[in-house]
């Protein structure tokens, strides 16, 4: 029993990302309003970002910025050897840093398309849009 509990606790970052992902996926499938769908896509993206960033964590490690002496000290750090276990994994941070900004930019495109749809049909409800398409 205690093994199961310790396993659940050791993976709790995955539970949170799965919960967020399910919320986002449900909003994309189940909601009829286009803006709510867009928000669902964003929650989904947040889940992915959380997944990646949590993978980069290391026990007892600090942020991936090499501790360097005053006055720049670009080449003086050769004296002390840099251990990979001292610093967090920088790669997921790099990937998610760009993904966050691209997510905002694509959110803008999605909202622009929603505005065009609203101008065309006067509504953002999916079923009403479909019925108006059929009438034409």
């Amino acid at each position: 029993m205690s093994e199961i509990i310790s396993s659940v606790v050791a993976h709790y970052n995955y539970w949170i990302y799965i919960a967020l992902m399910m919320i986002g996926l449900y909003a994309v499938i189940g909601k009829k309003n286009l803006i709510k769908k867009i928000i669902g896509v964003n929650i989904f993206q947040t889940a992915i970002i959380l997944f990646y960033v949590s993978i980069g964590a290391k026990k007892g490690a600090t942020i991936p910025i090499i501790h360097h002496g005053p006055g720049g000290g670009h080449h003086e750090t050769t004296a002390s050897v840099i251990e990979a276990s001292q610093y967090m994994n920088p790669l997921p941070h790099v990937l998610m840093l760009t993904a966050i900004v691209v997510a905002v930019a694509t959110l803008g495109v999605a909202l622009a398309l929603a505005i065009k749809v609203y101008n065309q049909y006067g509504t953002l409800e999916e079923d009403e849009i479909l019925s108006r398409i059929r009438i034409r």
Binding site: S7, A10, H11, Y12, N13, Y14, W15, I18, A19, M21, M22, L25, Y26, I29, G30, S54, I55, G56, A57, K58, K59, G60, A61, I63, P64, I65, I66, H67, H68, H74, H75, T77, T78, I82, E83, A84, S85, Q86, Y87, N89, P90, L91, P92, V94, L97, T98, I100, V101, V102, V104, A105, T106, G108, V109, L111, A112, L113, I115, K116, N119
Partner: protein
């Protein structure tokens, strides 16, 4: 449809929960993600690029192509918003509202083709609800220069402390958007016009790609900043640090301009007149 959605979501969630047993546990230093390429970045990054912030070094140097195309995606998003929404020409509003600055009386003027901006004692306000909020306007006007100064620090110091082009660009863009929210869209567009959005966005991407092309001209691979050592008169490792800085400035410009571009198009539905 909703029932079907719940079934799909629950099945997906169950499959994901089923696979979590194979994942490494939280903050495990021996996890696969931390054992292949990332130890090389951490241990050698400082000696190879002279940038203590490994995230920036990986972003702009080791994964330079990835970042170049991410910046291009942000640029494309700005262009797409512009082409989808922008309505060129006159404002579609046939009547505008003006507020007398001293008394706060609002006046509605029909068909003012000539007087579109503020004039004399009157200032133009949006037709929809716009409160005259002196505290918010003054607080934002005081805050915005410091926000922009901090953004410039984040860009320029990005390879020594937390920061970089994307973060600084977003902060810069947010400062202009804050101006548009606290005052109105026209004030923000007077400071940084529509042409400036397009030009800055393109210049940012061009600066990035141009740095890469310059490295090619100097005889090395695309985006291999070591080639810049010849024109900067420093050693190749330091040239990489400088190359990262130039590229980050390009990213910052592109992201800032794209965010403002998207905001002003989406918030005003493309007429650039009355926005949020």
């Amino acid at each position: 449809m909703k029932f079907l959605g719940i079934i799909v979501v629950v099945i997906t969630g169950a499959l994901l929960v089923y696979t979590t047993g194979d994942f490494p546990s939280w903050s495990d230093p021996a996890s696969p993600a931390s054992t292949h390429v990332s130890p090389h970045y951490i241990e050698k990054g400082m000696h190879e690029t002279a940038a203590p912030n490994i995230v920036t070094a990986v972003l702009a140097d080791y994964r330079g192509f990835d970042t170049l195309f991410e910046t291009t995606v942000v640029f494309c998003a700005g262009v797409v918003c512009f082409f989808l929404l922008r309505i060129p020409g006159r404002s579609p509003f046939t009547e505008c509202q003006y507020r007398h600055k001293a008394t706060g009386i609002t006046v509605r003027v029909k068909h003012d083709r000539k007087m579109s901006g503020s004039f004399g004692e009157f200032e133009r306000i949006d037709t929809l609800w716009t409160p005259h909020d002196l505290i918010i306007q003054t607080a934002c006007r005081i805050l915005i220069p410091f926000i922009q100064l901090f953004a410039l620090y984040v860009i320029a110091h990005g390879h020594h402390s937390p920061g970089g082009g994307f973060q600084g660009g977003v902060i810069l863009g947010a400062s202009i958007i804050l101006l548009a929210i606290s005052h109105d869209l026209r004030t923000a567009l007077d400071r940084l016009g529509e042409k400036a959005h397009a030009i800055l966005c393109s210049v940012g991407v061009l600066l990035y790609a141009g740095t890469g092309a310059l490295c090619m001209v100097l005889g090395l691979n695309f985006l291999d900043y070591g080639a810049l050592a010849r024109i900067l008169h420093v050693d190749p490792v330091m040239a990489r640090s400088h190359g990262i800085l130039v590229v980050e400035v390009g990213v910052g410009l592109a992201v800032m301009a794209a965010l403002i571009w998207i905001y002003s198009n989406v918030s005003s539905r493309g007429n650039y007149d009355e926005g949020l």
